[in-house]
C-alpha cells in the first residue's frame, strides 16, 4: 500500500509538472507575421509595399459600395453628369445632394481609406534606411514607389478637402503624414506646405526610381496585365496633374510631355480594347482588379443584376459626336436606358458582365488635356488647340479651331467627355468655374453656388474629436 501511494502521488504531481513550465504561455502566431521581427531584409519590405497597392482597392477610394467610391463615382455624382436611377439605394445621395455632415459615413470612409494607404506606404519603408548601405538599389525601388504612392494619396485628399489649389496658398492644407507613429496628432498646415512635401516626395521618388536594382515593370508594354505599378512614368503623370492643379503651367507642360512622348495615344481601333483591359495602350498606371473583388463603378451601374443607381444626363451624352469612339466604349443602351459601360467587364467576362475592371487612373489622353489647358492658359492658343485636336482626332471626334476663352471651355468640355467617371469632374469644376448647375432631369438639388461649404468635404467628426490639432473646414 505504501508503494502504491508513492506511485500515485508521483503520477499526479508529475502530471502537474509536465504542463507547468512557463513556455506554455509563449505562443506565436502562425498565420500572421510579427512586425517586430519580420523585416530583416529589403525583400521583406516588398511584401508590405504590395500591401500598400492592395489598399488602393479599399471600399471608399475607387471601387466600392454603400457610400464607397468617393474618389471615383462620387466625383461625377457630386457634379453634373448623372441623375438618380431606378435602383439607387441612396448610398451616394449625400454626395449628389451636397448635404454631407461631419459625422457622415461617406466623408469619413474616404478620409480613413486614403490615410490607410498612406499608413501602409509608410510601413513599407519603416526602418528601410538601415539597408541603404548594403542594398541601395533595392531600397530605391521600394522607397521610390512608397513615397510616390504616399504623395498621390495626399493629393487625392487635397482635392476633396482643400478649398484652394494654388501652389502658394495659405489656406488650410492636408495633414501630411510621412512616418508611422500612431500617437502623432498632425496639423493640417497650409496648402503650400502640403505641396512642398508632396513635390519633395514625388521628386525624390523620381530620383530613386532612376537608379534601381531591377525594373518595376516594362515601360513600353501594352499587355492588358501591364502597368500595374508606379514607376518614373507614373510619377511624371502625377506631377503633371499636380502642377495643373497648382497652376504651375510650365511644369505641367514639361511632365505631361514626358508621358505623351513615352506612351502615345491609342488609335480609334485600339481605344475600345482599353476598357476591356485587353490592352494597356496609352495607360500609364492601372490599378488591377481581379475576379472576386468589388465591381469598380458599382455605385453608378452594376452590370450583375443590371442595377442602375445613377443615369447619365442627356446634356453629357449629347456632347459626343456620332462617330466618337468613346460613345460605345463608355455608354451602352441596355433595357431602354443608357448606362455607364466604361467598367463593364474584362474581355473574358463580356458575355456575363460583372463590372470587374481595372481602374485606369492615369492615361495619356488626360496628359494631352493637361498640356492643352496649360498652353491655353498661358495664351499659347495654337499649341493648346493642337493638343486638343490631336486627342479629338484620336477619338474620331470632330476637330475645332477655338482660341482664347472658347478654347479653354472646349478643353473643359473635352475633359468632361474623355474623363467621365475617372475621378475628375467635380474637381475640374471646383478649380475652374466653381458653379454647378444641373439642368436636365433635375427637380431638386440643382445648383451649387461658389461660396457653398459643400465644395469641400468636412473633416470627419471622429478626427476632430481625437486630434486637438485638426481644424474643421469652414461651415461644418
Amino acid at each position: 500500500m505504501k508503494y502504491s501511494i508513492k506511485y500515485i502521488t508521483t503520477i499526479i504531481l508529475g502530471g502537474a509538472m509536465l504542463s507547468s513550465c512557463s513556455k506554455t504561455v509563449d505562443v506565436d502566431p502562425s498565420h500572421t507575421v510579427n512586425g517586430d521581427n519580420f523585416f530583416t531584409k529589403v525583400e521583406d519590405f516588398d511584401f508590405a509595399l504590395t500591401g500598400a497597392y492592395q489598399r488602393l482597392k479599399l471600399n471608399s477610394l475607387y471601387g466600392g459600395v454603400n457610400g464607397g467610391s468617393v474618389f471615383l463615382c462620387a466625383v461625377d455624382v457630386a457634379a453634373d453628369n448623372f441623375y438618380t436611377g431606378a435602383n439607387n439605394l441612396g448610398a451616394l445621395n449625400t454626395m449628389f445632394r451636397w448635404n454631407y455632415t461631419a459625422d457622415g459615413t461617406v466623408p469619413r470612409g474616404a478620409w480613413n481609406a486614403a490615410y490607410s494607404v498612406i499608413q501602409q506606404a509608410n510601413l513599407s519603408i519603416r526602418g528601410i534606411d538601415k539597408f541603404r548601405a548594403t542594398d541601395e538599389l533595392a531600397v530605391n525601388r521600394v522607397e521610390g514607389q512608397a513615397r510616390a504612392l504616399r504623395a498621390y494619396m495626399h493629393f487625392e485628399l487635397l482635392r476633396w478637402w482643400c478649398d484652394n489649389y494654388d501652389r502658394n496658398s495659405t489656406a488650410l492644407g492636408i495633414a501630411y503624414v510621412d512616418n508611422f507613429d500612431v500617437e502623432q496628432m498632425p496639423a493640417r498646415g497650409t496648402v503650400k506646405e502640403t505641396y512642398d512635401k508632396m513635390e519633395a516626395d514625388l521628386k525624390a521618388a523620381r530620383q530613386m526610381m532612376s537608379n534601381m536594382d531591377k525594373p518595376i515593370q516594362s515601360g513600353t508594354t501594352t499587355q492588358g496585365t501591364g502597368r500595374a505599378y508606379i514607376d518614373t512614368l507614373v510619377v511624371d503623370a502625377m506631377l503633371a496633374r499636380m502642377y495643373l492643379y497648382s497652376n504651375q503651367l510650365d511644369s505641367a507642360i514639361k511632365y505631361s510631355s514626358y508621358v505623351i512622348d513615352a506612351r502615345p495615344l491609342a488609335t480609334p481601333a485600339e481605344f475600345p480594347e482599353i476598357w476591356k483591359d485587353a490592352t494597356t495602350k496609352e495607360v500609364v498606371w492601372s490599378i488591377k482588379y481581379q475576379a472576386g473583388e468589388q465591381a469598380l463603378a458599382r455605385e453608378i451601374y452594376q452590370p450583375a443584376g443590371d442595377l442602375v443607381s445613377w443615369r447619365p444626363v442627356l446634356a453629357l451624352l449629347a456632347l459626343y459626336d456620332p462617330t466618337d469612339v468613346r460613345t460605345n466604349s463608355y455608354w451602352l443602351n441596355k433595357n431602354s436606358r443608357i448606362i455607364l459601360s466604361k467598367y463593364y467587364a474584362k474581355t473574358a467576362a463580356t458575355g456575363n458582365p460583372d463590372g470587374i475592371a481595372d481602374f485606369k487612373i492615369f492615361r495619356t489622353g488626360e496628359m494631352y488635356l493637361i498640356r492643352a489647358e496649360a498652353y491655353a492658359r498661358k495664351g499659347l492658343n495654337a499649341a493648346g488647340l493642337g493638343d486638343l485636336n490631336t486627342l479629338r482626332a484620336a477619338r474620331n471626334a470632330a476637330t475645332g479651331s477655338e482660341s482664347g476663352t472658347a478654347l479653354e471651355t472646349a478643353i473643359q468640355t473635352e475633359r468632361r467627355k474623355e474623363l467621365v467617371v475617372e475621378g475628375h469632374r467635380f474637381f475640374d469644376i471646383k478649380r475652374t468655374s466653381r458653379t454647378i448647375s444641373r439642368t436636365q432631369n433635375c427637380t431638386s438639388f440643382c445648383s451649387l453656388a461658389s461660396g457653398n461649404r459643400a465644395w469641400n468635404l468636412p473633416v470627419p467628426q471622429t478626427e476632430i474629436l481625437a486630434n486637438p490639432n485638426m481644424i474643421q473646414n469652414p461651415g461644418y
Partner: protein, 980 residues
C-alpha cells in the same frame, strides 16, 4: 368521443386508491428540537396517494399495505421516511434541515450552502429542461437574480446573450465563463447539447466564487453539472414531446397595396409624383392585389423531441446513460435544427480510489437563414421591403421578379440557396481521485477534459438568386468553411480537510492548464452551372471564366497556466471564512505582463445558529455574508492581440502583407473587483425563503478604444484605460401559500436592478463611438444622439433640439448630440407560480426587463422617403405635404437624418415566458401498464409579450435592431414522460 376520454382520464386521476393486504399503523409526530407535537403533518404511503394528516396532538392513524414506507412531511421541516416494523410509530421531524443541507456547486468543488459565503444561484435542470428550446442558456431566462438572458433570435439553435450583474466590460466580452463537469466549454455553443442531461446550473456571481476562475471569471461563471447515476435500482426513462410554433405579429406595420399606391401617386417627393407612371387602371387593379408573402415564407413549424435515459448503479459503480433526438423546424420554411446526442457518465469507487468519466457527443444539423442585417437580398428583409402589390409568384407558378422598384423577390434566395451547419461536439472529462486512508482528510485529484467542436458550414448560392449578382462569374457559388475548436483543461489538486474541536478547515492547492486551438479552413468556388449543388458542382477556374475559387485558413492558439488555492474555515458551524488566491499566466499578453494575480475573501455568520436566537420563532434561518475580491476578463481581441501583426494579402497576383493589428505592449486583462453583502433567510416555518444581496463591482483597466488621429491610418487602439462601476441589488423570494397533502401553492419571484457608471477614461471626458457614448459619470453604453423635435408645420422640415435642450432648429448638427438613454436594462427578473393539486401540477413563469432603449434601424429602413420604390411604414402616410400639416413625419424634401431620437424607442417588456400543466398518472394505472411512472404535460412558451417597441419583439441585446428579424416564437407543445 375525445371529451369522453378526457373525462375518463380525470376520473381516474381522482379515483381513490384501492388497496389489498392492509394493516393499520398509528403514531405521533413531534418537533425534534423541543418535543412538541406537530399538527397537520402529511403522512403518506410512499409511491401512492394514500395518506392522512396528524391531529392537534400530533397523532395519526393510517392503513398501509405490507412492507410499505411512510413519508412524513410538513412545511418548515425536512421530510422523513420510516418503514413501520410495528403497528405503532413515533416520529420526530427536524426543522428546516432540507434547506440547510443544500449544497452549492462552485466548479472546483461542492460546498454546503450554509457554509459558503459567496453569491451563487442554483437552478435545477428539472425546473427548465422541458422547454422546447434548442440552446440551453435560453432556458435560464428569469430564473435567477442577477442573471440577464436576452435572446434576440427565434431561429432554431440560436444562442442568447447572457450577462451576470451588468456588463462589466464595454469592448471586451460580457458573456460568462461556462464550466461543464469541471472543464471550460465555449460560450454560446450549446446547439449540440441535450438540456435534459443537465442536473443543475450554478450561477457564480460574487468575487469569492468567481475569483476561483481568475482571469476568466469577471463576467461571472455558469457551472453546469450533468446527471450522474445513483446507488439505486436501475431507472429507465422515456420522454417525448411534440409541438408547433407560430410567428408573433410585428408592431411595425407597413403599407398595404392601396396605401402604397396612394402614396406613390398622390404624395409629392423629390423624385416626383407617380414615379412608376401608373395609369388609373393600373392603380385600380393593383390596389386590389393582396399578396401572401407571409404564407410563402412562413409555416406552422413543428418541433419534437425523444429522450431515452437510464441510470442506476451499486455501491461501487454508478452510471447515467442517455440518448436524444431533437427536431425543430424553424418558422421560416427552410430553417431547422436536428440534433442527436448521447451521454455516458460513469463513477467507480474502489478503496481510496474514485474514477469518473463524463462524456457526451452531439451531432447537429442546422439550416439557417440570414438575420439581423439590413441587406436587401436577405429574405427576411426582402419580403417586407418588396412592393405590397407584387405577388410572390406569377400565375404560371414561377417567381415574380417584376417588382418595378427592383426589390428582390426573397423566395429564390430563400428556397434555392442553402445555408447548412453541421456540428460535431464532444465533451469528455476523466478524473482520478485518491483519498489517503492513512492520513484522514488528505486527497489528491487530477482531472483532464476536452471540449471539441467541429463546425462545417456549407453555403450554396444558386445562379438564379439575388445574391448571385455579387458572386464572381455570376453563375452561382459554393462556400465551405470548417472551424475546429479544441480546448484542453487539465486540473490537478491536493486537498486536506481537518476538524479540531469546533474548528473546521480545508484547503486545496491547484494547478491548471487550459490550451485552446482554433483552426479554420475554407474555400468558395464558383460556376455552379450543372445540376450538382455542392462542392462537386464547382467549375474549375481559368484565367478567363472568372470562376477562380478563393481559399483561406487560419489558426489561433492560446494557453493559460494557473496556480491557485481555495480554503475554507468555520467555527462552530456559525462563523465562516472562504479564501481564494490565483495566479494566471496567459499567452495572449505581452512578454513581461503575462502573469496576473486574483483573489477573494468571504465571511459568513449564521445568526440563527447563535444561542440568543434559540427562543425566537420568526426565523428558521438567517445568514449574513460579505465578500470581496477580484477576477479578470480575458475575452478581447484575438490570441495575439499584443503583437504587431501583418496579415496576408495580394495585389495583381503577388503576395503581400498589410498591417492587421497594432502592437500593444501594455495590454493587460480587465480586473473586476466586487464587494458583496447578502442576507439569506427562511421565515414562518420555512414558508418564506429568500435572499437579498447588494453588490458593487469596479472594472479597472477597462478596455476601450483610445481614439487616435485617423491620419495615422487607424482610428483607435485597444487600451486598458477606463474604470467602470456596476452596482445593484438582487432580491429573490419564494413563498409557500399552501403546502399539504393535496395542495402545494408556491409563488416566487426575483428582481435585479443594476446601474453602471463610467468612473475614469484615462483623462478623457468621453469616448464617442457612433450613437453610443461612454462618458464619466454616466452609464456605460449610453445613447448619444441629436434629439428630434418633430416637424415644422410651415415647411415640413424636421426639427431638432440644440444641445441646450431648449432652442429648436431645422439644421441637423452632430454637435447637438446629447445623452438620451442607455442600451442596457436598469432592471429585470422573473416571477411565477407552481401549483400542485394531487397529481396535477401547474407552473407559470413571467420574465421582464425595463429601463433600456433600442435604436430601431429596421424602422429607419421603412421610414426613409428615399426608399419610395420599396414598401414603407404605414406611418409615412402621415408625411408632411402641405403648409399647415401637423404631423410627426417630415417632408420628403427635407434631408433625412437617421441618427436622431426619432428612431430611439423604449424596450421595456413583460413576457409570459412559460406555462406548463402536467399530470402524473395514478400508480394503479401505471403499474397495470408495467410502468413505474407516467406523466403527461402541455406547455406554452412566449404565449404573450407586453411591450410598446415598434417591431416583432423588444428583446434586442446589442441595443440596435438592424433588420431581418427572426423573433422569439410562440410555441405550444405536449408531451409524455414515462418511467420504465
Amino acid at each position: 368521443m375525445q371529451m369522453k376520454r378526457l373525462l375518463l382520464l380525470m376520473l381516474v386521476a381522482v379515483a381513490p386508491f384501492l388497496a389489498w393486504a392492509q394493516r393499520e399503523v398509528t403514531g405521533r409526530v413531534t418537533d425534534s428540537k423541543n418535543g412538541t407535537p406537530l399538527s397537520g403533518v402529511s403522512v403518506t404511503v410512499k409511491g401512492t396517494r394514500t395518506g392522512t394528516t396528524t391531529n392537534q396532538d400530533g397523532l395519526f392513524r393510517i392503513s398501509v399495505p405490507e412492507n410499505s414506507v411512510l413519508v412524513f412531511s410538513n412545511v418548515g421541516f425536512a421530510d422523513k421516511e420510516v418503514t413501520p416494523t410495528t403497528n405503532s410509530v413515533n416520529v420526530a421531524l427536524e426543522q428546516g434541515q432540507g434547506i440547510l443541507q443544500e449544497v452549492v456547486v462552485t466548479g472546483y468543488g461542492t460546498v454546503n450552502k450554509k457554509q459558503y459565503t459567496g453569491s451563487v444561484s442554483k437552478i435545477a435542470g428539472t425546473e427548465v429542461n422541458l422547454q422546447p428550446i434548442g440552446s440551453l442558456e435560453q432556458l435560464l431566462q428569469g430564473k435567477a437574480p442577477g442573471l440577464l438572458i436576452q435572446s434576440q433570435s427565434g431561429q432554431p439553435g440560436s444562442a442568447a446573450s447572457v450577462t451576470i450583474r451588468g456588463k462589466g466590460s464595454v469592448l471586451g466580452g460580457t458573456q460568462p465563463l461556462y464550466i461543464v463537469d469541471g472543464i471550460q466549454v465555449t460560450a454560446a455553443d450549446f446547439q449540440s447539447i441535450n438540456p435534459a442531461d443537465i442536473e443543475n446550473y450554478s450561477v457564480l456571481k460574487d468575487a469569492v466564487s468567481t475569483s476561483q476562475y481568475g482571469s476568466r471569471g469577471a463576467n461571472g461563471v455558469i457551472v453546469v453539472t450533468t446527471r450522474r447515476g445513483q446507488n439505486a435500482k436501475t431507472k429507465l426513462n422515456y420522454d417525448f414531446q411534440y409541438g408547433i410554433q407560430a410567428f408573433p405579429k410585428s408592431k411595425l406595420v407597413l403599407m398595404n397595396s392601396k396605401e402604397k399606391l396612394d402614396y406613390e401617386a398622390l404624395y409629392d417627393r423629390p423624385d416626383g409624383m407617380n414615379p412608376f407612371g401608373w395609369s388609373q387602371a393600373d392603380l385600380d387593379s393593383l390596389s386590389m392585389v393582396r399578396p401572401s408573402w407571409e404564407d410563402a415564407i412562413f409555416r406552422h413549424a413543428k418541433t419534437q423531441q425523444h429522450i431515452l435515459s437510464a441510470s442506476g448503479g451499486n455501491d461501487k459503480t454508478r452510471f447515467f446513460i442517455s440518448g436524444s433526438i431533437f427536431d425543430q423546424e424553424g418558422l421560416v420554411k427552410t430553417t431547422k435544427l436536428r440534433r442527436y446526442t448521447g451521454r455516458v457518465n460513469l463513477d467507480h469507487t474502489s478503496g481510496g480510489f474514485k474514477v469518473g468519466i463524463s462524456s457526451t457527443v452531439g451531432v447537429s444539423e442546422l439550416s439557417g437563414t440570414d438575420e439581423n442585417d439590413n441587406v436587401i437580398s436577405t429574405p427576411l428583409n426582402a419580403y417586407r421591403w418588396t412592393l405590397p402589390y407584387i405577388t410572390p409568384y406569377l400565375p404560371d407558378g414561377s417567381y415574380n421578379l417584376l417588382d418595378p422598384g427592383g426589390n428582390p423577390n426573397p423566395l429564390p434566395d430563400l428556397f434555392l440557396n442553402t445555408n447548412k451547419n453541421n456540428q460535431l461536439k464532444l465533451i469528455g472529462v476523466v478524473s482520478l481521485e485518491y483519498k489517503f486512508p492513512t492520513i484522514r482528510g488528505l486527497a489528491v485529484r487530477t482531472q483532464w477534459g476536452v471540449d471539441f467542436t467541429d463546425d462545417q458550414n456549407e453555403d450554396y448560392f444558386d445562379k438564379n438568386t439575388q445574391v448571385n449578382q455579387v458572386i464572381p462569374g455570376n453563375a452561382g457559388g459554393f462556400s465551405y468553411g470548417m472551424i475546429r475548436r479544441v480546448r484542453w483543461t487539465g486540473t490537478t489538486s491536493v486537498s486536506y480537510d481537518k476538524k479540531v474541536n469546533d474548528h473546521n478547515f480545508g484547503i486545496s492547492l491547484y494547478h491548471e492548464t487550459v490550451k485552446r486551438k482554433t483552426t479554420t479552413n475554407g474555400y468558395t468556388g464558383f460556376g455552379l452551372v450543372g445540376p450538382i449543388k455542392n462542392a462537386a458542382g464547382i467549375t474549375p477556374g481559368t484565367p478567363t471564366n472568372n470562376f477562380i475559387p478563393t481559399v483561406g485558413g487560419n489558426v489561433n492558439e492560446d494557453a493559460l497556466l494557473s496556480y491557485f488555492a481555495i480554503a475554507n474555515y468555520d467555527y462552530k458551524n456559525t462563523y465562516f471564512v472562504n479564501l481564494t488566491g490565483r495566479r494566471d499566466g496567459s499567452s495572449r499578453l505581452a512578454a513581461g505582463n503575462k502573469f496576473v494575480n486574483y483573489g477573494g475573501v468571504g465571511l459568513g455568520w449564521a445568526i440563527t445558529s447563535e444561542r440568543f436566537m434559540d427562543n425566537q420563532k420568526l426565523f428558521n434561518n438567517l445568514k449574513l455574508k460579505v465578500s470581496y475580491g477580484s477576477a479578470g476578463n480575458a475575452s478581447i481581441g484575438d490570441s495575439y492581440e499584443a503583437l504587431e501583426q501583418f496579415g496576408p494579402t495580394s495585389y495583381n497576383g503577388i503576395g503581400g502583407l498589410t498591417l492587421v493589428n497594432l502592437k500593444k505592449e501594455e495590454l493587460s486583462w480587465e480586473t473586476r473587483s466586487t464587494a458583496n453583502v447578502g442576507l439569506e433567510f427562511a421565515m414562518f416555518n420555512n414558508r418564506l425563503t429568500g435572499s437579498a444581496e447588494v453588490y458593487r463591482s469596479r472594472t479597472n483597466g477597462l478596455y476601450l478604444n483610445r481614439q487616435l488621429s485617423s491620419t495615422n491610418g487607424v482610428t483607435s487602439i485597444l487600451t486598458n484605460l477606463g474604470k467602470l462601476q456596476n452596482q445593484g441589488i438582487e432580491i429573490a423570494l419564494s413563498y409557500d401559500l399552501v403546502k399539504n397533502r393535496d395542495w402545494t401553492i408556491n409563488i416566487n419571484g426575483n428582481w435585479t436592478a443594476n446601474t453602471s457608471k463610467i468612473l475614469a477614461l484615462d483623462g478623457k471626458e468621453e469616448i464617442i463611438s457612433g450613437i453610443s457614448i461612454n462618458k464619466i459619470g454616466e452609464r456605460a453604453n449610453s445613447v448619444y444622439m441629436v434629439r428630434y423635435a418633430g416637424v415644422d408645420p410651415d415647411n415640413g422640415d424636421a426639427l431638432y433640439y440644440k444641445a441646450d435642450g431648449k432652442t429648436i432648429t431645422n439644421v441637423y448638427d452632430p454637435n447637438d448630440a446629447v445623452i438620451v438613454g442607455c442600451f442596457d436594462p436598469k432592471g429585470f427578473g422573473g416571477f411565477g407560480t407552481s401549483v400542485r393539486f394531487r397529481d396535477w401540477e401547474l407552473s407559470a413563469l413571467f420574465t421582464y426587463q425595463y429601463g433600456f432603449d433600442i435604436y430601431n434601424q429596421a424602422r429607419v429602413d421603412v421610414e426613409n422617403p428615399q426608399y419610395w420604390f420599396s414598401n414603407l411604414s404605414r406611418d409615412i402616410l402621415r408625411e408632411w405635404q402641405n403648409p399647415g400639416d401637423i404631423t410627426d413625419i417630415p417632408s420628403p424634401f427635407n434631408d433625412f437624418q437617421d441618427g436622431t431620437t426619432r428612431f430611439l424607442e423604449k424596450g421595456d417588456f413583460l413576457r409570459f415566458r412559460n406555462v406548463m400543466v402536467s399530470y402524473n398518472l395514478p400508480r394503479t394505472l401505471v403499474s397495470k401498464w408495467k410502468l413505474s411512472s407516467a406523466r403527461l404535460f402541455v406547455q406554452g412558451q412566449n404565449l404573450h409579450t407586453w411591450f410598446s417597441f415598434k417591431g416583432y419583439d423588444p428583446e434586442v441585446f446589442t441595443g440596435v435592431l438592424t433588420g431581418a428579424v427572426y423573433p422569439a416564437l410562440r410555441t405550444i407543445t405536449a408531451g409524455v414522460s414515462i418511467g420504465l
